[in-house]
């Protein structure tokens, strides 16, 4: 469908959308006047019953831990999908131009950018681990920390050394890490089923709120998710970089 036809259709449908939006806006409650009962109940029990000071993590990894299994496997299966779509096609071949990929010409990768990017590697990994293990106390957790962790190897790519990035985070190792993270999270839930009879019911002592080893299963679940998320992002990025830098040829 050409751009003109699409815009014409949008022009016809637009007033309808506008009318629906106007009707919706007239019935909206005032901003800030929300009194949802679930939020109030959970705010009341977060610290006293679940011993976690960050309620978002408490919800994510404990109260609705079962939903997070689904969320985690959405990520896992989509990465499998990316690997499948970006596989080597007929007529393509992997070709490593040693001099080019090792020192690939990342546009504008000046010496100062390289120095900064390499300096970012240890700090990204440290901050990532910190965010993952403190999820039950302060904002953060496995999802956020996992992304920060994955930035470490990515910074090596930014420094213009794709092959070094692959050496720091070998694809096989990253894939194993991703799978272990996904399986580990499911195992945390299974632990609840085995020890206290309910899937994803907490089975680890709750500890003192505010301490790093508190909130029962949450730190464990957070580490598993962190591993899975950082693995998933690295596998995904590697697929795209391979397309740009290693896979050559193919039918047009």
């Amino acid at each position: 469908m050409s751009r003109g036809v699409r815009l014409a259709l949008f022009g016809i449908a637009g007033p309808g959308l506008a009318a629906v939006l106007v009707i919706a806006f007239t019935g909206l409650p005032d901003f800030g006047a929300y009194h949802g009962i679930y939020g109030q109940v959970l705010t009341g029990i977060g610290v006293s019953v679940r011993h976690a000071t960050d309620l978002v993590t408490a919800l994510n990894f404990d109260i609705r831990g079962f939903d997070t299994v689904g969320e985690e496997f959405i990520l896992f299966s989509s990465v499998v999908g990316v690997v499948l779509i970006l596989r080597e096609l007929r007529g393509e071949e992997e070709e490593v131009h040693q001099e080019e990929s090792d020192e690939h010409h990342f546009a504008g990768a000046s010496a100062s950018l390289r120095a900064l990017a390499l300096g970012l590697v240890p700090s990204a990994i440290t901050v990532g681990i910190y965010v993952v293990v403190h999820g039950q106390l302060t904002p953060g957790g496995g999802f956020q920390g996992g992304v920060i962790l994955a930035v470490g190897p990515l910074a090596v790519f930014l420094a213009g050394r794709y092959m070094s990035m692959k050496a720091l985070a070998p694809t096989v190792l990253v894939e194993i890490g991703e799978s272990l993270g996904a399986a580990g999270y499911a195992l945390v839930g299974l632990g609840g089923l085995i020890f206290v009879g309910v899937f994803f019911k907490n089975f680890i002592p709750l500890g003192i709120p505010g301490h790093i080893l508190s909130a029962g299963q949450m730190p464990l679940a957070s580490i598993a998710v962190g591993l899975e998320v950082s693995g998933a992002f690295l596998v995904g990025w590697t697929q795209f970089f391979d397309q740009a830098m290693i896979i050559q040829g193919g039918e047009q």
Partner: protein, 114 residues
């Protein structure tokens, strides 16, 4: 102006939708789709806001403080994960489409032949 956050959500939605409709490049279509999805973050966080309330982190505030709704914040987290996965899959499809048709203009895409 107590509806301003909701108006921002609607504006992001419509602006992203226009981007999808008017796009002549698949990468631009995908980025526009992420703009549409950003509208849901603003909408969800706007719904959960409570006047005068604090963030639902009790590490340094009294346990009895009023907090904004943590449920919608968790939903935003799920939303972001879904957006990341959808974007990755669509970009992978765009890469293969460009290989097959030599163009990223959606108008140039033909039926897949094998």
């Amino acid at each position: 102006m107590s509806f301003l956050p909701f108006a921002v959500a609607a504006w992001l939605f419509v602006a992203g939708l226009y981007g999808v409709v008017s796009s002549q490049n698949l990468v631009r279509t995908i980025i526009s789709l992420t703009v549409v999805q950003s509208a849901t973050y603003v909408l969800l966080l706007g719904i959960g806001y409570v006047n005068g309330a604090k963030a639902p982190i009790f590490a340094d505030i009294p346990q009895v403080s009023t907090a904004v709704d943590p449920v919608v914040q968790v939903l935003v987290l799920v939303d972001i994960v879904v957006e990341a996965t959808v974007t990755a899959l669509l970009l992978a499809l765009a890469v293969q489409a460009h290989k097959r048709f030599g163009s990223l203009d959606p108008h140039d895409l033909r039926a897949l032949q094998d």
